[in-house]
Symmetry: C2
Subunit: 256 residues, 2 copies
Amino acid sequence: MDVKQLREEIRNGTFNRTTSGAAGNKVQANVVILPKSYAFDFLLYATRNKKAVPVIEVMEDGKVESMYAEGSDIRMDIPKYNIYREGVLTETVTDIKDYWQPDFVTFLIGCSFTFEQAILEADIEMKHIAEGRNVAMYKTDIATAPAGVFSGELVVSMRPFKKSLVDRVSDITAQFPNMHGRPVHYGEPSAIGVTDIKTPEYGEPVDIGEDEVPVFWACGVTPQNAALNAKPEIMITHAPGHMFVTDMHNEDFKET
Amino acid sequence: MDVKQLREEIRNGTFNRTTSGAAGNKVQANVVILPKSYAFDFLLYATRNKKAVPVIEVMEDGKVESMYAEGSDIRMDIPKYNIYREGVLTETVTDIKDYWQPDFVTFLIGCSFTFEQAILEADIEMKHIAEGRNVAMYKTDIATAPAGVFSGELVVSMRPFKKSLVDRVSDITAQFPNMHGRPVHYGEPSAIGVTDIKTPEYGEPVDIGEDEVPVFWACGVTPQNAALNAKPEIMITHAPGHMFVTDMHNEDFKET
């Protein structure tokens, strides 16, 4: 499907499910919207934690069109938004026109959909995709570098792979440093503070075969987690899996 | 000289000249200090113009010690500071204790001293250093990407080299992406809007031999220029050549 048409269907409500697999090789982005008073701390947090929070665009206060998505409007072009007040999820909505404040700053953040596409194109299967599930995500005991009001532990996503494939998968994702890049860990989950691999904090669990190892990547939920620790009076994000679809090709973010 | 001792001599006023050549292989940094209300716009400007504004550290409001310089105090450890009010240079002072505001945010920005050291270590001479002059700097007609109140043209530094050396010099400096990296241009000055190569806007002129070409790098004066366009009520920078000396080795910033 053409991404302009997809954004239009999202805007008029025809398309209202997750965007996983819906945008082919186009870049999909995590979204965090905050009042400008939090923008410096958040951008600094991102700068200090690039692997987890790879900001690909900042839309300053007053801007609603992404430079990566012609004719887009960030207030309407995401299928589902989460509204958080003082760190608590209070509403899930399909547009945020009524919530918009002139001082809102929007951060677009790289997403693992990009490197997953590259893994698939190398003919390597991922179980959560084959089973139509959300990827499993865990809080670790790895502290992120704090910035102002933002702090917290690194959140990781996990995909199991056969041992023989780990190096290749690692090299594939390393080509996308703005989409979380190389894994942060593989092997023993407890080494990074993941005590119960069967019970992810976010997403859905996935079986790890006897000949497989769990591979962990820094995850775009990290900044949401940090933002919730900061308890801003209002914060808006995409709902999990309901991403902002851009006009950019995944390949445009390949750097090797 | 030991850098801790150097910072101490700077602090007590014994050392009060430029730091060019005074810190061996240790990283020296450009400094921009702004009230927090400008910090988001400035950090975003840096993010959008990494080649000219490679931020290596942000010291948030309340912090005066750099993580790269043990025991340092940014209010006293620079030989000479420039105070700008509404974009106009009003004072040059040797410490800023009386000017310090609790909302000041300090940006340390990579400096070409680092790549110059690497060029020297490759046994390649630079005329401005041999002659004991400041490097020649020029405004170009290349617009930087604006962010909030910050905008303006790219400022470049110029060093002439024999044609046969340009590729090698370019590759040496490319190893330091956080210290302006690869040249932005070499050859015809007018191609980047430099109309009078004999009259630099900043620094001192240097002769270009018949067998030499001018090579241009993005320059750390770019953010000062942008900040002056923005006319903040107060901004403090190091005086040209009077840098902040860190404990870090130039090699620590080498990325190949």
